[in-house]
């Protein structure tokens, strides 16, 4: 970061995701790709080489019918608050954490594509551009001017739709304000979710949904035991679903089914 001096409001943006509400429709994934100028898949791409800043998994309790239960699990960068693994390992400061928003950001133009950050990320929520980005002829007209398209050979990931943060700041400036108008900055997935399963807000504001979720006994964070203070809270009333975030479940020896 450039300076420790932090004028204006200090936020810690986070998310609260209600697994009991998510229907796995995938609107959030598409909205995310549209918002952030993520290109359609290369014909050769798979779910291991594609780019999905936000990915919805289907997770079940490993039981058989009729006891079988499933939830849909939206996964994006968990925006680790301390000991941010990717931020610490990047050799040339291509990953930055904004002290005024807590957002972990990848700067593609600085990235040399060593992928050390991907090895460091426990959530596999960083994606590498294995191919040159390509849009069908004419479709580049629909690109979002607030987000810079990436080039081949760099890493990218969810940054809470940082372009929208910029836009919100500009709108604040129109009103002559220095700080973003609360509620004016909302990531695309939150806006797109027809079930209202994803909520977004400032963890420093006790009234915000994530701050509430942080206190909710039904909510958990992924791999919280690693001590990286992720800022995405998941919530479910199903007891087995609450254990999804617990790494000791990790062998997941059950044969994973298609989402």
């Amino acid at each position: 970061m450039i300076s420790e001096k932090k004028p204006g409001k200090i936020c810690r943006y986070g998310m609260a995701i209600d697994l009991d509400k998510c229907t796995g429709c995938g609107a959030c994934m598409i909205a995310c790709a549209v918002e952030n100028n993520v290109p359609p898949a290369n014909p050769a791409a798979t779910d291991l080489t594609g780019i999905t800043w936000l990915r919805v998994f289907k997770v079940d309790n490993g039981e058989e019918y009729p006891r079988k239960e499933s939830v849909y699990f939206p996964m994006m960068c968990q925006q680790c608050g301390v000991e941010t693994p990717c931020y610490l390992v990047c050799p040339q400061q291509a990953v930055d954490v904004d002290p005024s928003t807590g957002i972990v950001f990848q700067m593609p133009e600085r990235c040399l594509g060593c992928r050390y950050c991907m090895a460091a990320c426990p959530y596999h929520s960083r994606y590498f551009n294995w191919w040159d980005p390509k849009w069908p002829a004419g479709m580049e007209k629909t690109l979002n001017p607030d987000v810079a398209p990436r080039m081949r050979g760099v890493v990218e990931k969810c940054n809470y739709c940082h372009g929208r943060w910029h836009a919100a700041r500009e709108r604040a400036a129109q009103a002559g304000l220095k700080d973003i108008i609360p509620g004016d900055y909302v990531p695309a997935c939150v806006e797109a979710c027809p079930a209202g399963a994803i909520e977004f807000g400032d963890l420093n504001d006790p009234a915000s949904a994530p701050a509430q979720a942080a206190k909710d006994p039904n909510s958990f964070r992924l791999l919280a035991t690693l001590g990286t203070e992720p800022k995405v809270y998941y919530r479910s009333k199903r007891p087995w679903a609450k254990r999804i975030g617990d790494p000791s479940q990790a062998p997941g020896s059950k044969e994973t089914s298609r989402g």
Partner: protein, 186 residues
Amino acid sequence: MVPILAGVLASLCAGWIGFPRVIYSSRPQPVEFSHPIHAHKAGMLCVDCHAPREDGTYAGVPPLSRCAGCHTANLGPTAAEKRFIADYVKPKREPEWAVYARQPENVWFSHTPHVRVARLPCEQCHGDQASSDQPRLYQEDRISGYSRDIWGYRTAGGAVPGMKMDDCIACHRQEGLAHSCLDCHK
């Protein structure tokens, strides 16, 4: 010893005098536009042509329609104007202006906070254009493709303040506005 020194000298000359000339490709602006004539003779203000949108964002280089508003026919005797009318106004062809200050794609810049909130005068970043009787050559780095104003050595005589990242950071630091790279990068 002599040949060695000769070699050093040769590359010093080439590197410091020749190279800066070679690395940039230059091209003139399509129209010999004179700010002073418009500013002083016609007594116009910057915002008369470079008007921001109502939301404060910069509307870009004024379109031909803005010029054609007055320049329906020759207003003056100059050959430049004759050419302008003939080449652009009559055939309704937009002049392909080269923008000195065009930032790289990964820079998120908005005039709104700088003009509305910080109340910076245009000159602070763009320099005193009103006195430039002849538009400067537009110089572009041959390899990186960036304008000389935003990337490279100071332009001739430093008449124009730089618009490089360092210049932005310097001001933001001074104002205590600098958080991180994310302030301006997208």
